[in-house]
Symmetry: C2
Subunit: 259 residues, 2 copies
């Protein structure tokens, strides 16, 4: 029996936090989540929009944003400022004591600039370490961290970092002290047998089932790395990973992966 | 004798944090300040620049920015994101455990939208209360808050707020638990008898001298509200206010006002 206090870490994509209706729904659902919690957000669509307004073109390779110096300024403004503070101020209005953070704040997440192999992604960070001590202290005091997808290299550079990775690495680091549930929210009900059929939800999945589904071609595309990350989190001590809709973060909906 | 731990709160204007050379100098000087500290920054020039790039015109009345909905998004991005995180990441590289904050984060500063009298300043906040308890806890743990000139109304709205006011109100709130020195940094050596002559520094000033200088026309313009705020801080328990150059934050340079 796990005697640690519960902590729910919820990652939501940019699309959800960037549209008024879905943001409103999400924040209501997030406010209703009981106990300690962290929200990790994206913001890619807003970054693309602000960049375009500034005459900066967004270049994506394999679904990842190429981040040159100008784009780094845009994502710093949009992720760290516009999207993050908009969420924080609205959670505060609902009585949730939110604290907006990038990985640079309190040195929470260190990363290194991704080495150039086939592709130069620019100022993109791969996570080295999550410094969870102060974060855990604040959470125990009732603070709800709201984390933007930005980290730092300890050498004075902000690095653009995948929000799924931030959520996963934070979950692993916090598993030492909390009983962690990690939720990945997206626009589907969870892992589906048939991507076009919302009724084909797979409610539970273990690693051998996952491998079989991949072999059979039932699970494919972007869901494969998401599930690989989920099992990695479970192996690292996270109690439960849930893949679900952003409006169904009640802890029972979606696809559940348990230790 | 004051047995409280020392806390230095340093407010620097936008000009200093927005140019590479002066920012570099400031951060070196700030890093060298011993003991607990807070940095409060502006960012008006960057906001004006980004707004212009987005096709949004900056309107100033009595030296204050008129903040409509579009401009509020700009200052949220620029103050809360670009300027704040750029300072945080560079302080981290110098071993200063910085935490970027707006007044919405951890509900640190509540304000209300300034009532419309002669001028409608839009989404501009007048400070109601600084919630210093968690801030003081973090400072005692070695965290160095870096505060952007944004507050919130508790109803879900970010409000653009004068950085001098943020520094002054934070100083007053922290004076309960710390021995606070408040520094206002600008482009002059301090309060000058002759604005054109850097050698005419007034090294110490008390309230009766201030009143006499104002009557005699020696102190005028923007220095009057700055000094009025300084004496208000002293009356509210702040130990010392220093008005100085951003590169001379050694605690002895500039014009000193003491209890």
């Amino acid at each position: 029996m796990n005697m640690k206090e519960k902590l729910t870490i919820i990652k939501v994509g940019g699309k959800i936090v960037e549209e008024e209706d879905s943001l409103h729904q999400l924040l209501a659902a997030f406010t209703a989540v009981e106990g300690h919690k962290i929200l990790v957000h994206g913001g890619g669509r807003s970054a693309t929009k602000v960049a375009a307004q500034l005459g900066i073109e967004s270049q994506m390779i394999n679904g990842r944003r190429v981040t040159d110096a100008d784009m780094l300024n845009v994502v710093t403004m949009v992720y760290g400022g516009l999207v993050n503070k908009n969420i924080v101020v609205r959670l505060q209005a609902q009585g949730v004591n939110a604290l907006g953070l990038t990985g640079a704040d309190m040195d929470v997440i260190r990363s290194h600039k991704r080495p150039v192999k086939d592709v130069d992604y620019g100022f993109v960070g791969d996570v080295d370490a999550v410094n969870g001590t102060l974060l855990a202290d604040l959470i125990r005091k009732g603070i709800v961290p709201v984390m933007a997808p930005l980290t730092h290299d300890g050498q004075g550079h902000i690095l653009n970092t995948n929000a799924d990775t931030i959520a996963g690495e934070t979950a692993k680091a916090m598993a030492d002290v909390f009983d962690v549930t990690l939720m990945y929210c997206f626009e589907k009900k969870g892992v589906l047998r048939d991507a076009e059929d919302d009724d084909s939800l797979i409610p539970h999945i273990n690693e051998s089932e996952f491998k079989r589904y991949v072999e059979e071609g039932i699970i494919q595309g972007g869901m494969i790395p998401k599930l690989e990350n989920s099992f990695e989190a479970i192996h690292a001590g996270v109690s439960k990973v849930i893949i679900t809709l952003a409006t169904a973060i009640d802890g029972v909906s979606g696809t559940v992966i348990e230790r």
